[in-house]
């Protein structure tokens, strides 16, 4: 496990260096003045610009510029947003938690829906249920997420009026921000209307999370189905059968666990896709997250926001990748060490 950890950490370090180089190089491509794009100070006068040039080491070699860039990131000094003139770090610290909340709840819905359906399809392989689930998976996978969002708003928010269509909580509730994660903040607050606020937040997150979850859920159905079918053909399942275990016992005690382990790896790989859906869904549901902020930033030509938003979102995706890799290795001894005798 130690070797595995070290290898993963070095990989993580290496990818972070590459990623920072990528975001660093963006400064040479964005149109407009580089210093203003970096600092976000659109109204700086000549003296201030001179000071900024010294701060960002613009006139020194590319290596010291890069080093300065890294130092700034570690000090949380990401410049000002060109649109709102607020520090990027404060903006991100309020927006990123909302995105994390939405993506984690969507991922949970996708797993809770997708994996059991996939297992059922594998158990009833080539029967009617299997066909129905597979059809659902293919059709669900083909739905454009923005269209689905619009239809869902039309049906559930406007015609049936079951769920609200925009924002993350009703404006009536005033929740002081502590962690940035709305649900945690609500529980921490000592407002007398805590539970009403919690219900409101739940109602607000339900539609966007379900919309985001549909496509990943269909992918999980397919993956769960394949991995369950693979497990059911292995020799230890055959052995369990010959020992006389009932079908349900085999599925519960042997098949599901082994099939689940195989799934964990794919969850990390699906995450980049999920973030794309989250970004589009945030726009449709006016979710106060980082994806919507980024998309709006394009219209406002807010290059400081774009550069840092890319960095933060990619780091988030990488961390989830590494995290799922670790869970996979912790649960599955075959993944961390080489097979003996092979």
């Amino acid at each position: 496990m130690l070797m595995f950890t070290l290898r993963r950490l070095s990989l993580f370090f290496f990818t972070m260096v590459l990623l920072s180089m990528l975001t660093f190089s963006l400064r040479y491509f964005f149109p407009g003045d580089m210093l203003i794009n970096l600092s976000g100070q659109i109204n700086a006068n000549t003296a201030e610009l001179k000071q900024l040039a010294i701060d960002y080491k613009i006139h020194e070699s590319i290596f010291s510029q890069y080093w300065q860039y890294l130092t700034n990131i570690f000090h949380g000094n990401l410049g000002l947003s060109m649109a709102s003139q607020l520090p990027i770090s404060t903006e991100i610290s309020t927006l990123l938690p909302a995105t994390i909340e939405l993506s984690i709840i969507a991922l949970t819905i996708a797993m809770v829906m997708g994996i059991p359906l996939g297992f059922i399809a594998a158990i009833y392989h080539r029967k009617k249920i299997d066909n129905i689930i597979l059809t659902f998976a293919i059709v669900g996978h083909s739905f454009p997420v923005f269209w689905l969002g619009l239809l869902v708003i039309l049906i559930f928010s406007i015609q049936l009026a079951w769920f609200p269509s925009a924002g993350d909580i009703s404006l009536l509730f005033e929740i002081p921000q502590q962690t940035g994660f709305l649900f945690i903040d609500i529980l921490l607050s000592n407002s007398p209307y805590k539970w009403q606020a919690f219900n409101s937040a739940l109602a607000h997150i339900f539609l966007p999370a379900s919309v985001v979850a549909l496509a990943p859920a269909t992918v999980f159905i397919r993956l769960a189905r394949t991995s369950m079918m693979e497990v059911l053909e292995t020799s230890y399942i055959q052995a369990a059968k010959t020992k006389g275990l009932s079908f349900i016992q085999i599925i519960y005690h042997h098949a599901i666990r082994n099939a689940l382990i195989k799934m964990i790896r794919h969850i990390g790989l699906q995450f980049a896709n999920l973030i794309t859906f989250v970004m589009i869904t945030e726009v449709i549901f006016s979710w106060p997250g980082i994806g919507r902020w980024l998309i709006v930033s394009i219209g406002q030509r807010d290059y400081t926001a774009i550069q840092n938003g890319l960095l933060v979102l990619s780091i988030f995706i990488f961390v989830v990748h590494i995290f799922t890799d670790f869970i996979y290795a912790a649960l599955n001894p075959l993944a961390r060490e080489h097979n003996h005798g092979s």
Binding site: L11, T15, P31, P144, I158, A272, I306
Partner: protein, 297 residues
């Protein structure tokens, strides 16, 4: 008497022919295939099939509902939008933009990806390791994010977003080709041609490619369904095709505020996207099934 066959020759179908033979046997896959072909032909011949001009507004027929409605007009079969443009013609023209361009995007990234992937499979050691890590970095950046950056640099427009999609699809092709070529190179038949004195490039061309083409085609269908969705989503967000162009995502966005008055202007482009992605997925599913059937036999 003349003999047609001098030798008792047995003819083996090539891997691609076998694939097609297995593919034909699944009905659902064939339905998907016909749908796919229909869209492809429509995309090529769209200027000839359009009943009206897709971009010309006609103020006499604003927001006409589809023909089956009481207020509909048969000469505007699927109704008109807020500027009186014929929906059917716009959808047909959109086939070229959304579906046709996604096809071209996939071909371009396939060619680049396969070339780079086979080259990378031939390199070894630290070079290949760095290369793989670099790919991992690009692979984990979502398409939309990449597109946002390219749009920020070059400005919005259909062409710019197409490049973004090409760039984001290439790593997957490199990955698939890299692994497949590596796998094939360890097999005995490659060793046999190597002992015959064939160079690596020749082995690639004559021995390896015919055997991995099904994996690449399979990846291409996955990539195309992603490309259609990407083109449409970028159009919807206002980064891709700009307003008069009837790209399906852009159409959906431009009539969004009329959703309740004229729902067909939003339903129809969405359905078109759904249909295009669905047929592509069905073809892909059929291919995977055919490959599996062949391996089982």
């Amino acid at each position: 008497m003349a003999r047609d066959k001098i030798y008792n020759e047995e003819k083996f179908p090539s891997p691609l022919q076998q694939l097609w033979f297995n593919f034909k046997q699944t009905n659902v896959a064939m339905v998907g295939f016909y749908g796919y072909m229909f869209l492809l032909i429509l995309a090529i011949f769209s200027p000839m099939v359009m009943p009206h001009n897709a971009m010309e507004s006609n103020l006499d027929v604003l927001l006409l509902p589809p023909a089956w409605d009481k207020q509909g007009n048969v000469s505007y079969l699927l109704g008109t939008d807020s500027l009186g443009r014929d929906m059917l013609s716009r959808l047909i023209h959109g086939t070229t933009l959304t579906f046709g361009l996604s096809f071209i995007v996939v071909i371009i990234s396939l060619v680049i990806g396969v070339v780079l992937g086979s080259l990378s499979a031939l390199t070894k050691g630290i070079k290949s390791s760095i290369y793989n890590h670099f790919l991992d970095v690009i692979l984990s950046i979502p398409t939309l994010l990449l597109a946002i950056i390219i749009v920020a640099i070059l400005g919005p427009g259909l062409g710019n977003t197409l490049w973004a999609i090409v760039i984001s699809l290439i790593p997957q092709f490199i990955h698939i080709t890299h692994n497949a070529v590596k796998e094939e190179f360890n097999k005995d038949y490659v060793l046999a041609s190597r002992l015959d004195g064939a160079s690596s490039l020749r082995i690639l061309q004559y021995s390896v490619f015919p055997n991995i083409i099904e994996k690449i085609v399979n990846q291409a269908t996955l990539a195309q369904s992603a490309a259609i969705l990407d083109i449409a989503s970028l159009g919807f967000l206002g980064f891709g095709a700009q307003s008069p162009l009837p790209e399906w995502g852009t159409m959906l966005f431009s009539d969004l505020d009329l959703f309740y008055i004229a729902p067909w202007t939003v339903y129809l482009p969405g359905l078109a996207i759904l249909f295009a992605v669905l047929t592509t997925n069905l073809v892909g599913e059929g291919l995977r099934h055919a490959v599996k059937m062949r391996k089982e036999n």
